[in-house]
Symmetry: C2
Subunit: 317 residues, 2 copies
């Protein structure tokens, strides 16, 4: 397949070609495209928005997009959240409410499939961000649902992570809070006109007090995203974090960590694909599965032998 | 380290040694133990319980455990759900409520850390199930939160998967429902005394009608787990599914799929560990990260070269 037109289209900011490039990314056929685009990346400001289902992340993302648009920034949105209206996961009403940004040519919205090869989602999201970055989107918002290790990896492709919570989601949410506490650079208590907002904010502040001290103390911002309240304060907090990252060594450390994670994900995916696609493997795999099934051999011994043989064959090929 | 006492302890059903074996599993030091235990596995009935936070999964798991106990079955519980009281993620009250099963010597409860090496969680869960299986637990319940690809992989280590939903979790839940629809063999509408239970059950039935037909139509069971209502119906549905699996070719097909997924996870983890731990890699990694950071080379090209070199070195070692 000739990717030249797609690459040229992306660099020219053409929406149709950007969409095709991201589709290639999702299919894992993107390395040629990404190699070509790479030197044009690294300019966008990448922000992750995460939190449990029902926290109002998508509405907040829409409001943030509108705020950055007023600052003349082009905005890319990557929705990895299966419950997001951007991902097709919401009722028609949500989509109509969001029509303002859907029809804005300065906003590009793309949802990512949340199923696929192991480890592939974080890889695909990072690649989609690169495509939008190369296409000239200056602010890229990644929306993901903040439960599970996978989602944590996805959102860590961002420089700054905002964690969105709401009052009264029940005690079960406490545990999730604890889990995502460590990844939040900015905390948003959305639906802050609801009862319990003070308590949620106070609990959060207490948990942040208990966590290890670092030069950056994550601010807690209250919003009512449906009514546009508190949005500018969120943007201010996000941009303050960007200044913090740039001022000390933290920004550089995080960047290196992101690159390392990305290389590891690429290696793991390449390995997995090597295992899954080599035709000569197919008969051996059948036999390996049969041996474990019939309890002739344990999975550890089988995997160990397969690994050694696989590595050897890759070299001798 | 000498694993002999642990292996003997597990086979004797000794709780302390079972705990140690699972800790070794979590640290990834378990292959020797699992090789030794493997021939004693494959006897347990493994059931996955998944659903969004707040659905009452843990209470349901407790009730199911009690029901199987009344049938004289020994029950193992593996909690991969960060919001589960079994995982330490809940308030004291939850733990007190569950004290009945905590103090029952016929029940073994173990929580798994939800963070760690990519792909490691599904591998570790499958291994923990093997340990409990070899230790003589006849029913093993895996509790996980049903959001995210990782959790889907975890729960697919089970033969039968029950998806737990509740009325009124909001529209955002619809999308999650759609995502986990395909993995549910049994659907539970918990907190069925709440308003909206009929609607939730009706919507679920409609979605199941729309999905591709298969010989097994997943039943929808209503429960109020806190009051023990509907539990026997859930057990009946789970056991009906076991009969279905045994009667046709579906059980064998799923078993092979599970073995295949497990071998792939083992291979991927071994590969990742090879990458991360080899001392000679460290300088090369630093250099690789630096090249990407300074935009001298794109991550795809760097990963490709690292992969080839890595595979070669593994052989020449």
């Amino acid at each position: 397949m000739n990717f030249e037109p797609i690459i040229r289209g992306v660099l020219a900011g053409d929406g149709r070609h950007i969409g095709r490039a991201i589709s290639a990314v999702e299919r894992g056929e993107s390395s040629e495209i990404l190699r070509a685009l790479f030197e044009r990346t690294g300019r966008a400001r990448v922000i992750g928005i995460t939190g449990p289902p029902g926290a109002g992340k998508s509405t907040l993302v829409q409001r943030l997009a509108q705020s950055y648009r007023r600052r003349q920034k082009r905005v890319g949105i990557v929705a990895v959240d299966p419950s997001s209206p951007f991902s097709g996961g919401a009722i028609l009403g949500d989509r109509i409410r969001m029509s303002e940004i859907y029809t804005d040519p300065g906003v590009f919205i793309r949802s990512m499939a949340t199923r696929g090869a192991l480890g592939g989602l974080a890889r695909a999201t990072a690649d989609a961000v690169d495509v939008l970055d190369a296409a000239g989107y200056e602010v890229i918002l990644i929306e993901t649902v903040g439960v599970g290790q996978d989602e944590v990896e996805v959102v860590q492709a961002a420089e700054t992570v905002a964690v969105v919570l709401v009052p009264g989601l029940g005690d079960d949410i406490q545990a999730i809070k604890a889990g995502i506490l460590e990844i939040g650079d900015v905390f948003v208590v959305n639906k802050a006109d609801r009862e319990g907002a003070d308590r949620t904010a106070a609990e959060l502040a207490m948990m942040l007090d208990l966590s290890p001290h670092s030069p950056w103390r994550p601010p807690i911002v209250r919003t009512v995203a449906t009514r546009g309240k508190g949005i500018e304060e969120v943007v201010a907090a996000l941009e303050a974090h960007a200044v913090h990252l740039a001022s000390g060594g933290e920004g550089a450390r995080r960047r290196e960590k992101r690159i390392r994670a990305r290389l590891l994900a690429l290696l793991a995916e390449r390995f997995r694909r090597t295992v899954e696609t080599r035709p000569s493997e197919r008969e051996d795999w059948k036999e390996a599965v049969r041996r474990v099934r019939d309890r002739e051999e344990d999975p550890y011994s089988v995997a160990s032998r397969l690994f050694d043989r696989l590595v050897r064959e890759t070299v001798e090929r």
